[in-house]
């Protein structure tokens, strides 16, 4: 590709199959706590 640079693979589709175990940290995005914006959380399965 000359004109397009892709930064990552199709991670979301892949994760639908094996995700959902619920072992990761809960997330909260309110202004009074700092544990969420979901996208920056770690998956317990990818360690």
């Amino acid at each position: 590709m000359k004109r397009i640079k892709t930064l990552n693979s199709a991670v979301l589709k892949q994760s639908a199959a094996k995700g959902g175990c619920g072992e990761c940290q809960t997330s909260c995005q309110s202004a009074c706590k700092t544990s969420c914006t979901v996208a920056n959380q770690k998956c317990e399965q990818s360690k």
Partner: protein, 452 residues
Amino acid sequence: MVHTFQIKDKNIALDVNSGCVHVLDKLCYEIVSALEPPLTKETPEFLYGAIQDEPREDIDEAYSEIYELYSDGTLFSEDSYENIALDMKKRSPVKALCLHVSHDCNLRCKYCFADEGAYHHDRSLMSAEVGRRAIDFLIKNSGSRRNLEVDFFGGEPLMNMSVVKSTVEYAREQEKIHGKNFRFTITTNGLLLNDENTEFINKNMYNVVLSLDGRREVNDKMRVRADGGGSYDIIMPKLKKMADSRGQDNYYVRGTYTRNNLDFSKDVLHLADLGFKQTSVEPVVGDESEDYMIRREDLPKLFEEYENLADEYVRRRADGRWFNFFHFMIDLEQGPCVIKRLSGCGAGCEYLAVTPDGDIYPCHQFVGHEEYKMGNVADGEISSEIRETFENCNVYTKPSCRDCFAKFYCSGGCMANACLLCGDINTPHELSCELMRKRVECSLYIKACEAE
């Protein structure tokens, strides 16, 4: 769904459903922005008319690259998640508690949602007994989940350190018996930090959230002591010491920005200049009648702030002054699974808050709003009606989220803001959404810069 946007010299396309991020040249950007799926193998005729200043062969070349992504399922990919959303979170176990060990506070922050710690009730402290009951409740309701979280919150939790300690000890005992793994966190304003409790915290707490708003004058305008004086000079050195003692990891120094400091990027950079490596500064949210609340007309200024902060962030991370800013952190390769992204914070089902009296609420923000009271840890029963309302709420039940490009990064916004400010769990707080979307764009822009 594809979201295209430009920040500075970067043209970016986010393929929402696959999560793929593409950095495009100008011509591809124009084409992608004009296309609607399904795509044909041949360049659609209308493009030659729409893009007059480029030669046909360039348009063909650009289109063929775009078509390749499309056939690989990384551009205009389909939404295959709605069915997953339908039966998610049904009867999900409880895995996290926010323990309000102290409904009292030694600061009088003006924007405090918790009514300066008291939550619209009398000032009170949790007893060791309620702490133990809460741990029992969590274990009993956690089903097969192994990792359980407890956040010590307030008010100011260090005002009730003895109960923090006894609760941790009790949980450590119980986790062995029940095959669980507790992770503790604490959210504190730092005023009472000393060597002794720092040691305890570092030994036992997985994460620590330390509150500071940034520059002295900004912090001291909102975060005031009971006698009216500022808190920066007392607190900042303590927080610094705490952060250093944790090796500058597994903590956040976090602030709130308001209408008083729309130039909040200076506060973020101030925290970074002080040597804090893990930072978070977030917009105040609440009743718009207060004069420090963010207003819609402030958005252009705030958007500009986020963009400029993004540039400085990239610069510093490259030149040896590395730091993290919570809302710019996105893991494009190994972030959470899509199921997690759809379901959001888990308030009211996976995550609950417990008051000093043992009353259970959907999350810390609901505490004191009687109509949301779900039960008490003494008998351990919780209202299934309230629980179901929260369980049934996800990205796909909210019309505005369903069509939002940020849905898998935001996961549907704060339900407390929706309920308490907008009057409906399925109606996100639009001003917060605008800022969330801008932060997602900036985070992707940073990734594009760092990939160079």
